[in-house]
């Protein structure tokens, strides 16, 4: 079965208002699957549901064949789903490397006691995890900043740090919430390359993004949400031509044309 992540009739309401309503979709292993839709359509809410940060009001979520509804976020993370956030959730009290090391947390085994007495085994493990973390920083082009305090990083680098940190959990599926927001066009295309690189590592990606150039370039398949509901699903070509999507979200062709009048 190559269905990887799958939801059925997923619904999430906040005080009576449905942010996600009756949503069913499925992604394929190894693909880049993008979710687009107007602001407030429920994309971030969907990510929060998939990662266990919100509990669904109703409906099912299956990942790699088993249900993950009701699991706490750290369990879901250990099952292989990781994410980046729309508002970066960087540990600002740490250096770049330390941030990434936290991603390796669940791949360590030394407990409180052996850590407290600094057992040789825990020290070996620490060295190994550090190696891994550096590897991921290098992959995201941040290795030269490893010892920097993360609170002094500009926005774009925070975004990449989130990716490096998420990769350190060794995810099978990476959810990325607007990774290109706040990046200029050149930086955005670098982010596109990074996403493709991640896909090459064999990691499936789910992407939420408003930058259509990026989305259309990297996605294998797209899901369009509107007011929390399914609007359309298809390949980039199909979606770009879909009139419903154009009306609700994309607008006509090059939107900025009329700005010249």
């Amino acid at each position: 079965m190559d269905l990887f992540l799958e939801t059925q009739n997923l619904t999430k309401t906040f005080g009576g208002v449905a942010a996600i309503f009756n949503l069913s979709f499925a992604t394929r292993k190894g693909s880049v699957y993008s979710v687009i839709g107007p602001n407030g359509a429920g994309k971030t809410t969907l990510f929060n549901l998939l990662t266990g940060i919100y509990k669904p009001t109703s409906g099912a979520i299956r990942f790699a064949g088993s249900s993950i509804v009701g699991q706490p976020p750290h369990k879901i993370s250990r099952l292989g789903i990781s994410r980046t956030f729309q508002t970066p959730q960087i540990f600002l009290n740490m250096t770049v490397l330390e941030n990434t090391l936290v991603g390796c947390h669940s791949h360590g085994t030394s407990g409180f006691f052996s850590a407290a007495i600094s057992s040789p085994q825990s020290r070996r493990e620490a060295a190994r995890l550090k190696e891994q973390a550096m590897e991921n920083l290098r992959f995201c082009g941040l290795d030269h900043l490893a010892q920097r305090d993360s609170d002094a990083l500009p926005y774009g680098e925070l975004k990449r740090l989130e990716v490096a940190r998420a990769l350190s959990t060794k995810p099978k599926l990476l959810l990325m919430d607007e990774p290109a927001a706040g990046l200029n066009d050149s930086e955005t295309s670098k982010m596109g390359e990074l996403i493709q690189g991640i896909q090459k590592l064999g990691i499936s990606v789910m992407l939420v993004e408003h930058n259509m150039a990026l989305v259309m370039a990297v996605s294998d398949e797209l899901l369009v949400l509107n007011y929390g509901e399914y609007l359309a699903e298809g390949t980039p070509e199909q979606i770009q031509k879909n009139q419903k999507v154009i009306d609700a979200y994309l607008g006509m062709g090059d939107e900025n044309d009329d700005l010249f009048d």
Binding site: P73, H74, F91, S106, F112, L129, T169
Partner: protein
């Protein structure tokens, strides 16, 4: 190794102090109080400074340790060491039970809940007079005995208390520099972020709460034996607040800040006694002054101010990396 450098300096200071001032009241008597307070503060700092969870109830754990030792040795004539172990065990249990619901709270709600917990425990020390001795407390707590040595003189207590402190600091250092330590700091930085990295934040918060409670209980047991008398007044919420002040005044999230804070806050009243009625006034003013001018605490603040004086040349080259 680099991370132990501060530790060795601390050890050196502790060893040298009584050699230079062998019979000084400030070293051998106040020094013991400092060491015990510092031990609690180091534990509390794991919780507050690194994990970002405030506790205004740690005097309670200190008290549970003290009362376990006091009660079991005086009423049931237990061996002090078993009593001490029992104290740790009871603390573990209490902390484990209370931690789950309490640590779900955040910020000031957490502060209030821990404060309330501390007050409840204190009332439990005062009220059942027939068990705890009530407000008059427990007297004649026997001395501790290590390998045939009775710990009955001030200098011996100095050695024991500071030995315990060094042990505590060493454990805390290791913990903070480990995978666990990073996870703790991550919880402080962003709870959702930490969760998504696979950190079981609920569990790890509970664990560190228990650990810091055990630090306090251990210090409390030693305190009971050292004083030979305990009463609820020593474990009131004032002491909880004092502990928090030690941690913050000294400097959070640095291993030596809380020790420094404990030393300063223990010494201050001792030195201010000469001002009699003005003592309280001056103490308050000093606290405000430190926090206004060195908001990161004495340790961090002072070392930031002092370091450039020594490392003038070195830092100027480091600075340019920022650009």
């Amino acid at each position: 190794m680099n991370r132990y450098r501060g530790f060795f300096v601390l050890a050196l200071i502790i060893i040298i102090a009584p050699i230079i001032f062998p019979d000084s009241y400030f070293v051998t008597v106040v020094g013991v109080t400092i060491a015990l307070n510092a031990l609690v503060a180091v534990g509390l700092n794991l919780l507050m400074g690194y994990t970002g969870q405030i506790s205004l109830g740690h005097a309670a754990f200190f008290g549970i340790g003290a009362y376990s030792s006091g009660l079991l040795t005086t009423m049931f004539s237990w061996n002090p060491w078993f009593a001490l172990l029992m104290g740790l065990l009871v603390t573990w249990l209490v902390a484990e039970i209370i931690a789950r619901p309490i640590l779900r709270l955040k910020g000031h709600y957490l502060a209030m809940a821990t404060l309330g917990f501390g007050i409840i425990i204190n009332i439990l020390m005062v009220q059942p007079t027939h068990i705890t001795g009530g407000p008059d407390g427990l007297s004649d707590i026997p001395v501790l005995n290590i390998l045939g040595w009775d710990i009955d003189s001030d200098i011996r207590w100095y050695i024991v208390a500071n030995g315990a402190l060094l042990l505590g600091v060493w454990l805390a250092l290791n913990l903070i520099n480990s995978r666990i330590g990073l996870a703790l700091r991550a919880v402080h930085g962003s709870e959702v972020g930490a969760q998504m990295m696979g950190v079981d934040i609920e569990r790890i918060k509970i664990r560190i709460f228990v650990v810091s409670a055990l630090f306090a209980a251990f210090a409390g047991s030693l305190f009971a034996h050292q004083q030979a008398f305990i009463s609820p007044d020593s474990f009131s919420f004032h002491f909880s607040i004092e502990l928090v002040v030690m941690v913050v005044l000294g400097g959070m999230a640095s291993n030596y800040g809380p020790i420094f804070g404990a030393a300063v806050l223990t010494m201050l009243p001792e030195t201010l006694v000469v001002f009699e009625d003005y003592e309280v006034l001056i103490l308050g003013a000093i606290m405000m002054g430190i926090m206004i001018f060195l908001p990161q605490g004495l340790w961090v603040g002072l070392s930031q101010k002092i370091k450039p004086l020594f490392l003038n040349k070195a830092t100027s080259s480091v600075e340019s990396v920022g650009g």
